[in-house]
């Protein structure tokens, strides 16, 4: 339906373009005058005025329609019933009504739901009808308005360009809106979570087991119950596990990435560089779910068997396997970033070092790397931020049990793993368990934000130095 309306709007505004252009050509020909802008701009002017308001209203309508209808339905249920419902029950009833309307309802049909579905149907048709009426009138009004302005407008080009720039500006605002959206969606649920669980208990508690958490109205929790509840949501083991796996990953990625970056930048012949660089970059293009599968299927069992041979107990979901594979994934980021950074060091510095008789490795170690250090630090920090935000490898290859350990052969869990495990499948909204995932997300968001900010500062400073 929306697609058809959109198509009609596009069709109409295209014809407006030709109509407006023709009109102006006729006027100029009849009156033997020259307008300030080309006829095309008058066409654009009319077409944009016709399309933009209608498309905007259509978009808003589509986004908000379900929310508004839901509000109406729920209002109907609560006003026609004497019974009190909490929001979870209301939600369920609404879902059932929707399912009945769409024809995939299963379960017992109650009078309430049947009536609700009829209401839903009538709301939908009212909405549909009013949408069409409103859109048609908007199109007519804006087209007439702009047509009237068109005839005695001498600045059509400026006006069209103004609209164009406004559209450009709006598009670039999407970045800000996304950030606001992220913060809003994370903060909204997190605040609800922190009203139940004290933020300090969340940040500094050492026991994490959300599956133990019972769902209860937050306002009636007794102190004893709270004591038990807070032990379900102490996230220190998650932070530790995340940092530990990221650390293992960096132990793999930093030396290999750095050395291969140095080798490719300083030693490799053009030919070697040409072929090996893309191969290494394939590692960066492989989806992380593939690494996760690889870690769970090959690397994890390999370590377990290897450990068994030496009488070591190795979990098949060990931090070592997850960290190692994650390290491999990060190698290309470190290597290509440090390759770039090292290439940016001016040749004159190397010449100066060679001229006093330094060998190549002495030049690299004592002149090039110190000069490139801020850039290298920046790229390593970016890699760390990738490691802590990485999800699929740890979901598939690290464990689920939250324990504080520094034994790489045991399983550990991470922030991202827990977010996925809490939110996978159907989740009950408004339970502290679900909300805790958003609180973890918020922590992750800020942690990576800070790391990225520092890293970008480093890189920027470095760039300014040699530009």
């Amino acid at each position: 339906m929306n697609l058809a309306i959109l198509l009609l709007i596009v069709l109409f505004s295209t014809s407006c373009f030709f109509f407006g252009r023709k009109k102006i050509i006729n006027i100029t020909a009849a009156n033997k005058i020259r307008m300030n802008a080309l006829p095309d701009y008058y066409g654009y002017y009319l077409a944009l005025w016709c399309a933009i308001p209608a498309v905007l209203i259509l978009a808003f309508w589509t986004v908000f329609e379900p929310t508004i209808i839901k509000a109406f339905i729920i209002n109907n249920i609560t006003s026609s019933n004497l019974k009190e419902f909490n929001s979870d029950e209301l939600n369920l009833i609404y879902q059932q009504i929707k399912a009945l309307y769409l024809g995939n309802f299963t379960g017992t049909l109650s009078e309430e739901i049947r009536r609700g579905a009829e209401n839903y149907k009538s709301f939908l048709s009212i909405a549909e009808g009013s949408k069409i009426v409103i859109l048609i009138s908007i199109v007519i009004v804006t087209t007439l308005y702009s047509y009237k302005k068109l005839i005695n407008n001498n600045k059509a080009r400026e006006d069209v360009e103004k609209i164009f720039k406004a559209v450009l500006f709006t598009c670039s605002l999407v970045a800000i809106l996304t950030t606001i959206g992220i913060i809003f969606s994370l903060l909204f649920e997190s605040i609800k979570f922190f009203t139940t669980i004290n933020i300090f208990d969340f940040l500094f508690g050492t026991s994490w087991s959300p599956q133990r958490a019972f769902v209860r109205d937050a306002s009636t929790i007794t102190p004893e119950e709270y004591n038990e509840l807070k032990d379900a949501f102490g996230s220190v083991p998650l932070f530790a596990g995340t940092a530990f796996i990221a650390f293992i990953a960096m132990i793999v990625a930093v030396p290999i990435g750095l050395f291969s970056g140095i080798y490719l930048a300083e030693y490799a012949s053009k030919k070697v560089r040409k072929y090996s660089k893309p191969i290494i970059e394939i590692l960066a293009g492989i989806p992380t779910v593939v690494y996760g599968f690889f870690a769970a299927l090959t690397v994890g069992p390999f370590f377990r068997e290897f450990g068994e041979r030496f009488g070591l107990e190795v979990s098949s979901e060990s931090a070592l396997a997850a960290g190692l594979v994650m390290g491999v994934m990060i190698i290309p980021y470190v290597s290509s970033l440090s390759d770039d950074v090292i290439n940016a060091v001016p040749q004159s510095l190397r010449d100066g070092s060679y001229a006093v008789g330094a060998t190549k490795s002495e030049t690299i170690k004592k002149v090039v790397i110190p000069a490139a250090l801020p850039g290298i630090v920046g790229s390593v920090l970016l890699a760390v931020s990738r490691a802590i935000g990485e999800t699929m490898i740890v979901v598939m290859a690290a464990g689920l049990a939250a324990r504080l350990t520094i034994n790489p052969l045991e399983s550990t869990t991470t922030i991202t793993t827990q977010i996925v495990m809490i939110l996978i499948g159907d989740q009950e909204f408004d339970s502290p368990k679900t909300q805790s995932a958003f609180a973890l997300g918020l922590t992750l968001f800020f942690a990576t934000l800070i790391l990225n900010y520092i890293a970008l500062r480093f890189v920027k400073k470095y760039r300014e130095k040699y530009e």
Partner: protein, 255 residues
């Protein structure tokens, strides 16, 4: 005034950058303990020539060198020669000052450290001090040896690079337009310094300025399009050159 001993001798030196020939059959002798200036229009091969002497052209992948380069009678243009030892003997100062992003002290100490010239700290301090004194920078920096080399002015940076070059006690110093990025006052200081340095070192300087060649050098060679057109004592070259082309260049008809 000189002992007229040949320090560097090149014969039939040809240099190619990929397909492009940069030097054509250059035969040149450079004498011990004097300043030899190489002049000529841009792209004539004079920088390429001095970069052959300490084998800096090895850094460029596409560069091919044929012919003979002898230092004290020893052939250096072959695979057996160790470029690290060679460059210890033949220092170089570049067109743009290129101090390392380290302290002033470390800039000068770098060479002696990698070559193991000082076995203890006092010795190293002493080398740094003498090198800075020889390059006439000591008085200006003795109180701030820990500051980064890049914090100095352009002329000071270039003298720091000279100190760096002489810190390993080379026999020859190659200078590739050392004053082209400097103002006249800093240039004058460097020229003064060269007067002093030529007592201990053999100096080859590439320069754009004929006035500078006259001021600092005893001998001058004129390059054009990869050919060495003429070489003689500076006096003779600028007063009465043999070649018409040299005459035209020094009188400013082209270049």
């Amino acid at each position: 005034m000189t002992n007229n001993k040949v320090k560097i001798k090149t014969e039939k030196l040809n240099v190619f950058y990929g397909q492009k020939q940069a030097l054509k059959n250059v035969n040149l002798e450079i004498y011990n303990r004097e300043v030899t200036a190489l002049i000529g229009p841009s792209g004539c091969g004079k920088s390429t020539y001095i970069r052959c002497i300490n084998r800096m052209n090895d850094v460029i992948e596409t560069c091919k060198i044929s012919g003979s380069i002898k230092i004290d009678g020893q052939e250096i243009n072959n695979k057996q020669i160790d470029v690290v030892r060679l460059r210890e003997r033949i220092g170089m100062v570049f067109q743009k000052p290129n101090p390392f992003p380290k302290s002033i002290y470390d800039n000068v100490a770098y060479g002696p450290q990698i070559h193991g010239l000082a076995d203890h700290k006092d010795k190293l301090d002493q080398i740094v001090q003498t090198s800075l004194k020889k390059s006439a920078l000591w008085e200006e920096v003795k109180d701030r040896l820990d500051e980064p080399g890049t914090s100095l002015s352009g002329g000071q940076q270039q003298r720091l690079c000279i100190a760096r070059a002489i810190s390993v006690n080379p026999e020859v110093i190659l200078m590739d337009e050392p004053c082209s990025a400097l103002d006249p006052i800093a240039t004058a200081k460097i020229e003064e310094l060269m007067e002093e340095l030529k007592k201990t070192f053999t100096i080859v300087i590439v320069t754009h300025s004929m006035a500078q060649a006259v001021r600092v050098s005893q001998r001058t060679g004129f390059f054009h399009l990869g050919n060495l057109i003429e070489v003689d004592t500076t006096d003779k070259m600028f007063k009465n050159p043999n070649n018409k082309m040299t005459q035209d260049y020094i009188t400013g008809r082209f270049g």
